[in-house]
Symmetry: C2
Subunit: 302 residues, 2 copies
Amino acid sequence: MSSGDRQSASGGSLLSWRESPAKRAIMDFLTAVTDRDSGDFVPEFDRIAVFDNDGTLWTEQPMYAQLAFALDRAAELGHPTSLEQLRAGGMAGVVELVKLTHSGITTSEFAAASRRWLASARHPRFGRPYPAMIYQPMLELLDLLARNGFSCWIFSGGGTDFMRAWAGEVYGLPPHRVIGSVGATEFRTGPDGPELVKDEAIRVINDGPQKPGSIHTHVGQRPIVAAGNTDGDLPMLQWTAASPHRTLQLVVDHTDADREYAYDRDPILGSGTQELHSIAAENRWTVIDMAADWVVVYPPLP
Amino acid sequence: MSSGDRQSASGGSLLSWRESPAKRAIMDFLTAVTDRDSGDFVPEFDRIAVFDNDGTLWTEQPMYAQLAFALDRAAELGHPTSLEQLRAGGMAGVVELVKLTHSGITTSEFAAASRRWLASARHPRFGRPYPAMIYQPMLELLDLLARNGFSCWIFSGGGTDFMRAWAGEVYGLPPHRVIGSVGATEFRTGPDGPELVKDEAIRVINDGPQKPGSIHTHVGQRPIVAAGNTDGDLPMLQWTAASPHRTLQLVVDHTDADREYAYDRDPILGSGTQELHSIAAENRWTVIDMAADWVVVYPPLP
């Protein structure tokens, strides 16, 4: 971040955001809903914000980090699979890979395996540890929302257990606010006492129309802020937009081939962005143009 | 509550608890885990307490309040069912009744229907509104735990949507900490915008070995306090007891035929208490003898 960029930042601590319509929309919204004298005031109890994770809070290219983890784990377990095989297999192939690598293991062992992988794996293009592939501007937004009385939650298509191994700490969220897809577990008494064993059955694939359903189950309140980047996030944004309160919808647009990636279709599973962008334009939702709106993409490395 | 009883109470605000081993166990535990100089100190982040609802926090006799609601709603919908028919049908009959009365309705309409019923229905023996059938001593315990930095959660076999229509307000808990059985929902755009329609599929029956699984999904941390009253709560208590921290297990024993009910088998579904009491004795868990330990059972009516 150059000192010139820093100078131009204002409005709290969105230091990595350029003075653009996106930042203005965020700041205007926050001012309105937190000002008791505003007609748009929202009590703290109802200040709920929901975020997609992959592609919204961190980089999802060239493939979801969790799939990179699953491919490495499959190889470790003696079932090597290539990215090409995975691409060719579509959703069914991904489900098979997840079953193989995410079941028959206790929840504690799985958390430990995820943490081991996260500590050593590096992003193939940027060479960073995956938890350092989060977007610095979104981290600042999460922080600004929290300081304004918001409860921020993640509703991702990724697995809850994998995300909780790193996301809580990195984003500053308690584990109960990190929600994703969920497999069934079996409760049993093992040699070390009671344990939960992850089994093969996938209970919730937390994408598309399931996201509002999961928000209902896990939060039980209608959010007033939602952020996403593909059509799979559209129902969550529509659900939020229909709140009786003033709301904010954020759409992260991947326009930055140099500093991140430029694309309009998410990797492997291929969820598009066309419907999202069309409805965002119709409803004047806030589109974040990564190349234009962000001073930096990633946080400084320690 | 007589002034004599009030006088004998000590230790915070458990005013409706007699000076008995149960109260002493609670107070000793709280003192130990909140004292920074104690070897049993537990940081606030890990102070998680989980409670069963029916029979643990409120009366479940002569039948679960939610079944009384379902029977009234079935009659309204033109499908009258008697309590005898329900008893004869067992779990399958209950599931049929729930499907009939808890589906084909949006989540907002269902919340409104639950609230309408709660405002007018009265308990058949005590004549109280159902939300006034909660146990005053447990209300004081929830409050004392909250004032000691605990996050209290409900994990009940009852339906999440039905409970949230009243439990949050009555127990002082945000909706996301009131968790029960969950049906699937369908996201659709209705005439008034996006809505969630409750459908017939039951996704989670939150009882027995499912309770630790739901705690893992919804909290993501191991509790250090658990309270229940039937064998269906046993896995939740065992899961809690296996925490590396000092823990507290509470078993509510229904011994009070005069002021509440005396029984050892829950209504309709017939979950017993024998295994729970046997394991409680073996592990010296704290059994709450309702007749002996509580000064009053229900809160004063307004």
